[in-house]
């Protein structure tokens, strides 16, 4: 068995069903996107995987080729002709297995390709939909599959030695900040990346500290604590729904008017833009990223920040928050308020290159050699700024850069913007 592929005894049958399901469920918008491609290949020039390797298989639209084939054969305007004359053959299990590398190992779902297409095709949206079919076919990478399966059952992607609730309370004690948890009612419901609990506890403390500083009624909820959504990464749509529902139910239970997404890019996409669709109606609360929430509080005059001491910084725009989420100005407003000298990368804002860990790629073991090769595109841009400090607002970006630091013996240590804010609260004393 190829490493990383979850095979089932009836793989062929799964593939046929998955492709038929893809074609039937495709929807007018995705069909229009698939039909609009003119095979110009320009999307390759936006993709860091192609830019670094010049391997044409990493052309973004090529990554959905089997799905285009299935759509044309099964449900396009002239599908009967395609079938009758054999213009489009059935997608085979072998063919789809080859595409696992293209759809998971070598795509961060960062959406940069969606900004270059002269036909205006949102290629990233097609890739996300193709991942759903890959999951149905039993071809999700084993790491993503396992974490998604665990999370939809238990609420957390992996077992932990101690319950996360206890770890959260311990972080509060360690950093000297009160950790609001399981309050029956609160204005704002908080959640947290499990990456932060395990790797960046200072980030969790920073979140609690800024909320305490603002004096807003808020709470974490044990039964809806984890922000990540591995269902989103794995292409497991139903599991993504179950995982999102946990947070939605808890936010409703505590009467929250705001669900605050911590520094976690894909959690923002999953909850801000996709959860309501999976819920089947508009959410009865607003969903905000902590970065935009703090920028709003700053504008309203409730958040007061001191000047931050230190050298100039460069900022990594997390794709899901910025390019796909529109949270572009908020981090810059916070940096400006702290008089931080920002040195932008050559490609920044909506055009920033992905950290290379997005889309679950950081979790896929077999993707690592290629990821390191691609990483050099991003590292070159960061180094070219000359800024000694790298800031970001996504714990997956942070984890990916930390990993690169170790792998390349790189001199950049990524830091969290939230932690910088928490360290410069005018009324809050020293940071976590």
């Amino acid at each position: 068995m190829k490493e990383g592929i979850v095979e089932s005894p009836a793989l062929g049958a799964n593939v046929a069903g998955a492709m038929k399901g893809f074609a039937q469920e495709i929807g007018a918008l995705s069909a229009f996107r698939l039909e609009s491609c003119i095979h110009c290949g320009i999307c390759a020039d936006a993709c860091h995987y192609y830019i670094a390797t010049e391997d044409p298989q990493y052309t973004p639209i090529w990554k959905v080729e089997p799905f285009k084939q299935a759509y044309k054969r099964e449900s396009s305007a002239f599908a009967p002709l395609f079938r009758l004359f054999g213009f489009k053959r059935e997608v085979t299990a072998d063919q789809l297995a080859q595409w696992q590398h293209l759809l998971f190992d070598s795509c961060n779902m960062c959406g940069r390709c969606s900004l270059i297409c002269p036909m205006g095709i949102d290629v990233a949206a097609l890739i996300e939909q193709s991942r759903h079919a890959m999951f149905e076919a039993g071809l999700a990478p084993k790491e993503l599959y396992a974490k998604a399966a665990h999370q939809q059952l238990t609420g957390q992607p992996e077992s932990s030695v101690e319950p996360y609730r206890d770890q959260l309370l311990a972080i509060g004690v360690r950093f000297g900040v009160s950790m609001p948890i399981d309050k029956p009612q609160a204005e704002v419901m908080l959640c947290v990346p499990r990456t932060d609990i395990e790797q960046y506890p200072s980030g969790v403390a920073a979140l609690a500290r800024v909320m305490e500083n603002l004096g807003i009624s808020c709470t974490f909820r044990s039964d809806g604590l984890i922000a990540e959504n591995y269902g989103y990464f794995a292409g497991a749509k139903e599991w993504q729904r179950v995982i999102s529902l946990r947070l939605i139910d808890q936010a409703i239970a505590c009467g929250a008017t705001t669900l605050l997404i911590p520094e976690c890019g894909h959690a923002y996409t999953a909850l801000r833009w996709e959860a309501a669709d999976l819920y089947g109606k508009e959410l009865p609360f607003r969903v905000l990223s902590v970065t935009e929430f703090l920028a709003d509080e700053l504008k309203a005059g409730r958040l007061k920040l001191a000047k931050a001491a230190g050298p100039k910084v460069t900022f990594q725009d997390p794709c899901q928050l910025v390019r796909k989420g529109g949270v572009t100005e908020a981090p810059r407003e916070l940096l400006k308020a702290m008089s931080v000298e920002l040195q932008e990368m050559e490609n920044h804002g909506g055009f920033s290159f992905c950290c290379n860990g997005g889309g679950g790629v950081i979790d896929i073991k077999q993707a690592a050699p290629l990821r390191y090769r691609i990483m050099e595109v991003k590292m070159r841009e960061i180094d070219a700024t000359g800024a000694p400090t790298l800031l970001t607002t996504c714990s997956d970006c942070r984890r990916t850069f930390d990993d690169a630091q170790v792998h390349f013996n790189w001199d950049k240590k990524p830091n969290s913007l939230l932690e910088l804010v928490a360290s410069n609260l005018l009324e809050a004393g020293t940071g976590p």
Partner: protein
């Protein structure tokens, strides 16, 4: 019935029929698929995201500054031959007279000598486009029968048209018949292949631009 009569008589009627029905079906077929409603709260007002869509429909005609270095030349080549095609199809007086017979109104054309120059330039660009498709590893990988046949039939229309107006390669009536026959084939092929992008390009850009603008994201 000789070839020319067939080409601009029954042949053209059949071709226009296939073209109209095929294009209509290709567009209507989208409406038969599920249209998902977006339940997430938009960041921007309806006005802003509709405006974002309209702006993207135009602005995507040229790459963002960040991409120009990698794609500017290729896109310039693509748009240049399209402009050449539009000029020849819409501003050559015999074409205008033909279109007047269909739509009932006309507009001023360009001098024939200028059209000839534009045609030769466009043909050259067309060859460059094919060369690019054959030599680019990315484009070669993506290309299929549709790409090559769409190129071939459009080229054939251009070559026969230029031959007819230049009286090169055979009797004028035969060349004209071949020109109109190639147009008939192009019209029949149109709804089945990538030439449909003529109808998709602006709606596709506008829809995706609006969806990005709805999130307040760059489009």
């Amino acid at each position: 019935m000789d070839l020319l009569h067939f080409a601009r008589g029954l042949g053209l009627k059949i071709a226009l029929g296939v073209f109209c029905l095929g294009v209509t079906w290709r567009i209507v077929s989208f409406a038969l698929l599920r249209i998902r409603r977006e339940y997430s709260r938009p960041r921007e007002s309806v006005f802003k995201y509709v405006l974002g869509g309209l702006i993207t429909a135009g602005s995507r005609s040229w790459p963002h500054r960040e991409f120009i270095g990698r794609t500017g030349a290729g896109e310039a080549l693509g748009y240049s031959y399209h402009l050449g095609l539009f000029a020849v199809v819409l501003l050559f007086t015999p074409h205008i007279l033909f279109l007047r017979s269909l739509f009932g109104f006309a507009w001023p054309g360009l001098p024939s000598s200028l059209i000839t120059i534009i045609s030769v330039l466009t043909l050259t660009l067309f060859l460059a486009v094919l060369f690019r498709r054959l030599t680019s590893r990315v484009m070669r990988l993506l290309s299929n029968f549709d790409d090559y046949f769409s190129w071939f039939i459009t080229m054939l229309v251009m070559v026969t048209g230029l031959a007819a107006t230049s009286h090169v390669g055979g009797p004028y009536e035969t060349l004209l018949a071949l020109h109109i026959l190639s147009v008939d084939v192009l019209l029949i092929w149109f709804p089945f292949g990538k030439l449909m992008h003529a109808f998709y390009i602006f709606p596709s850009r506008a829809i995706n631009g609006a969806l990005l603008a709805r999130k307040g994201a760059t489009s």
